[in-house]
């Protein structure tokens, strides 16, 4: 049996990249593209400020394994991320921007990227 960190890496490879993985295109601020496998979720829970009730929001979020990245997004960097519009195989890609801080997961080897949908500029 390997070290705990090796076990975690192995688990991440399975949970984020194997059968659960979807192709995610990451474009760094220099325009370089890398395609990695990551876990994509499309909704999240939020609080409606008007009512205080829990609502389901459209929020595309990508979890990727750090060791699979050739360059890791840093705070205040502006990245473009393209993900399938749905989990269906062959779904069209949608373009998002990364303008929120990346959720900390570095100590355990993954990053969670909260994305903003991008529209065509005028």
């Amino acid at each position: 049996m390997g070290s705990l960190r090796a076990e975690i890496e192995s688990d991440l490879a399975e949970t984020l990249e194997d059968d659960f993985g979807m192709d995610v295109t990451l474009i760094d601020p220099d325009g370089n593209t890398q395609v990695v496998s990551g876990q994509v979720s499309y909704t999240t829970k939020g609080v409606d400020p008007d009512t205080g009730g829990i609502v389901i929001l459209g929020q595309t979020c990508v979890a990727v394994r750090i060791s699979s990245l050739t360059r890791v997004p840093q705070i205040k960097e502006r990245w473009v991320v393209r993900v399938p519009s749905s989990p269906v195989v062959g779904a069209a890609l949608e373009t998002y921007m990364l303008d929120e801080p990346v959720e900390h997961g570095r100590s355990i080897g993954f990053l969670r990227l909260y994305l903003r949908k991008a529209e065509q500029s005028a």
Binding site: I27, G31, P49, G58, R82, T95, M97, A118, Q120, S121
Partner: protein, 204 residues
């Protein structure tokens, strides 16, 4: 009361002059079906938020001066903005993509600028010289936008929402009209009981 007609006139005025730049909730020509809501990125909503009746400016038997306060809730939502024709083109070079990313506008910045633009549009309509009556046909006194308060942009999933409240004050003449109740007419019915007709049930 008069504040209700002025509130409705204000909604009508803003809706008439929005020219597609924003939507006014309650404006009759905008149906709020799902297709309309999907493009609902700038919204104005008008509330009567309160009023005062100074004792020195009124009478319990006649007209009173109503110091009215309307709250105009302005809301803007939006996504990030970049040149997708470059980003999504497989033939684009890294340097072209780099320039497109550098020129992109992050969501908070875009929404904040859009909210400032909306504040300007609404202010120009309300305080325009032609609209001193706020769209009503009767005079409105001391029309004045005395406060605008912006809240910081808030994340709502993969979009950002920014809101502001514009406070509009004015003076209106209110009169006591009594309750506007219409009495039903009485209808007499004659029941034919056979030998002779009798006046029977009276319904209202």
């Amino acid at each position: 009361m008069r504040f209700q007609t002025v509130r409705d006139s204000l909604i009508q005025l803003l809706g008439d002059l929005s020219f597609g730049n924003f939507r006014v909730l309650g404006y009759p020509e905008h149906r709020q079906d799902s297709r309309a809501l999907s493009g609902l990125d700038r919204v104005v909503q008008v509330f009567y938020s309160g009023g005062e009746f100074p004792l020195s400016e009124g009478s319990s038997f006649g007209y009173s001066c109503h110091h009215v306060e309307f709250a105009l809730n302005l809301m803007v939502s939006g996504y990030a903005e970049c040149d997708l024709s470059v980003i999504e083109n497989s033939n684009s070079t890294p340097s072209e993509i780099r320039d497109a990313i550098a020129d992109s506008m992050i969501t908070g910045q875009k929404v904040d600028e859009s909210l400032d633009d909306l504040i300007n549009l609404v202010y120009q309509i309300i305080m325009g010289a032609d609209h001193s009556d706020l769209g009503d046909n009767d005079p409105v006194g001391s029309r004045w936008v005395n406060k605008i308060k912006k809240d910081p942009p808030v994340s709502h999933g993969d979009m950002v929402v920014a809101t502001a409240v514009m406070t509009l004050t004015c003076k209106l003449e209110e009169s006591l009209t009594g309750l506007d109740v219409t009495e039903c007419e009485s209808i007499s019915m004659e029941l034919d009981t056979g030998d002779e007709a009798q006046t029977g049930i009276e319904t209202t």
